[in-house]
């Protein structure tokens, strides 16, 4: 589904990603862990198409198509979804209206008519129930004044609405309380099929108890330096990153 080869990316002339290789197949869950500033969010932004980052080398192939030339919206239409580490506040646009606009933009890109209003309402109701989001919430301005956890839950609500093929969850667990973490993880798991995939970025092993990864990668200083099974996450939780850095240096 996703094949990243030798990806180099920089911002303002500073190289952040220094040769990343990553392959994710349908049905899989991958986790990326790594110290602050190692380039995890940069990687997700580059996959989602943020223009500020310059891809200086390598390629990102999604469903056999090179993403490099595509705008962020086109990548979204193809099924790439990014749950932001820091969701942006959009005053003046309600969650509902935003969702309607996004859904219909996807449909338009696929040559479909706007979704009928009753169908839209039904979908919104169904997905907000899945994530236990209060109706009142949906008429508020998108992310404006939302608590950290509410923002994250709202990101997964959007994911549930859009049903992407590849979901990148950038520290979705940070800010969530214990109950919310269960609800949100449960939501993500319910959306999983053998045709879609999830890339989870996290600092904590705890999330991976709920969203269980097939593969865990360690990203340090713009490179994936170690890849293993879910037990690697426990090891990192226990020992931190220094041993890997040392291993690498040797």
């Amino acid at each position: 589904m996703l094949k990243i080869k030798n990806l180099h990316a920089s911002i303002e002339g500073k190289e952040i990603l220094k040769g990343i290789d990553l392959e994710i197949n349908p049905g899989e869950v991958h986790a990326i862990m790594g110290p602050n500033g190692s380039g995890k969010s940069t990687l997700s932004s580059v996959i989602a198409g943020r223009e500020e980052y310059e891809m200086t080398d390598g390629e990102i192939i999604f469903e056999n198509e090179d993403l490099a030339e595509l705008d962020p919206e086109e990548r979204a239409h193809k099924g790439v979804f990014l749950s932001f580490q820091y969701p942006v506040e959009i005053p003046g646009v309600s969650v509902t209206n935003f969702m309607k606009t996004a859904i219909n933009a996807h449909r338009k890109a696929n040559g479909l008519e706007d979704m009928p209003a009753n169908e839209m309402l039904k979908l919104i109701r169904e997905k907000s129930e899945l994530l236990e989001i209060d109706r009142k919430f949906l008429s508020r301005s998108l992310n404006e004044g939302f608590s950290g956890g509410e923002k994250k839950r709202n990101e997964i609500f959007q994911m549930a609405m859009l049903e992407p093929k590849l979901s990148i969850l950038d520290e979705t667990d940070s800010g969530l309380d214990i109950d919310a973490l269960k609800i949100v993880s449960n939501g993500v798991n319910k959306l999983r099929t053998e045709n879609n995939a999830v890339l989870v970025i996290t600092h904590y092993q705890r999330l991976l108890n709920y969203i269980v990864p097939d593969v865990v990668h360690v990203l340090i200083d713009g490179k994936i330096v170690k890849t293993g099974g879910k037990e690697l996450a426990y090891e990192l939780e226990e020992r931190g990153y220094d041993w890997i850095k040392q291993e690498k240096a040797v």
Binding site: A48, G49, E73, V88, N97, T101, A102, N104, A105, L162
Partner: protein, 437 residues
Amino acid sequence: MELKDKLVSSFLAFDEQYQVDDDVQQIRNQAIKDFETLGFPSRKEEAWKYTSLKSALKHDYSIFPKKEDAIEYTQIKKYLNHDIDTYDLVFIDGIYSSHLSNTTHDKIDVCLMSSALNKDKFKPVIDNYFNKLAPKNGLNALNTAFTKEGAYIHIHKNIMADKPIQIINFSTGNESSLLLQPRNLIVVDENSHVQIIEKHQSLTDHPVLTNSVTEIFADRRAIVDYYKIQNDKETSSLIDNTFIEQKDESNCSVHTFSFGGNLTRNNLNFYQKGERIDSTLKGVTIIEGKQHVDHNTLVHHIYPNCESHQDYKGIFSDKSVGVFNGKVVVEKEAQKTNAYQSNNNILVDDKATINSKPQLEIFADDVRCSHGCTIGQLDEDALFYLQSRGIPRKEARGLLMYAFANNVLESVKIPEIKKRINNLIAEKLGIELGFNL
């Protein structure tokens, strides 16, 4: 001949042609003298630093339009609000059009300035209010000297006007260029309520300059909601001079929507002559090309315990120019004043400009005054966020600008007007709204 000289020398002929009551005539005579000394404002004056009238004054405007043009209803249908029942005062090239208007004298007076200026019945009101509020300056003097027509609205005590009143000024292009000077007087007595919509619409590409003066008096506990829709052709310029006097516990709001025209200058002054008054001044400006919109506001807090709320938003594309000059004066006696002012702008293109200047003159110590002004581009983080959800960049930009401008509409009290403005904003921004508000 310069426009000023032409106007001064035309006055005698005008004065003979449009007879009025002696007292008013005296006011007009004095006004032409004032105009002769004061003339048009120039950029040397602080309040006109960023707005030059030069381009608007260069045409050889005709001052005496020909007879009423037989304008067909079909021609103007689209400019009227069909979805609301209104009283209408329609003027064509400055002349009242009876067949397009809908006036009343039932509990409220919605009629013509020309008849109010001549009939004994209205004399007490005219004597009390006419030209009592507009400060002495060249533009007001010019309008006063050439006072002949406009809206006369009087809401008597304890009356809630049963429907909004619409004032529309059309210009037809019968003249190669036309100067219009509507003069409106609106008196709202104690405990009364009125909603007014004002529009200027040119039906031609001939240049039109409008110098209008509106005086509004809101007595105790009166409520006045005024909506100005400025969406005229790019050949038209408008100088709108609106003055509002409020008494105790009255509540007045003016919303100005500036989407069109060549040069638009709004001089909007509120004078609070009582306690516990609420004044609201809001505006949305969305312009492009070489358009120029200038908001010059004044709120004069004179008595204690009053509030004022100013919120102006602007979106400027191409080489358009915006000016916001908001002055708030809080007199020494005006303790416990709450005065808020905010002016937020988005410059869509590098060549667009905004000159924003708040002026606070506060002489009281126990007050809450705030002002804020922002000038920015669209937030790239927000754009990326929307795009990452599949919303194309162009639409995402439109949506962000729409959201930015839209919250000014919250305080619009006529739902049909809200919807109409909402659609105008979407149209201006080139977005198709996939939702209704």
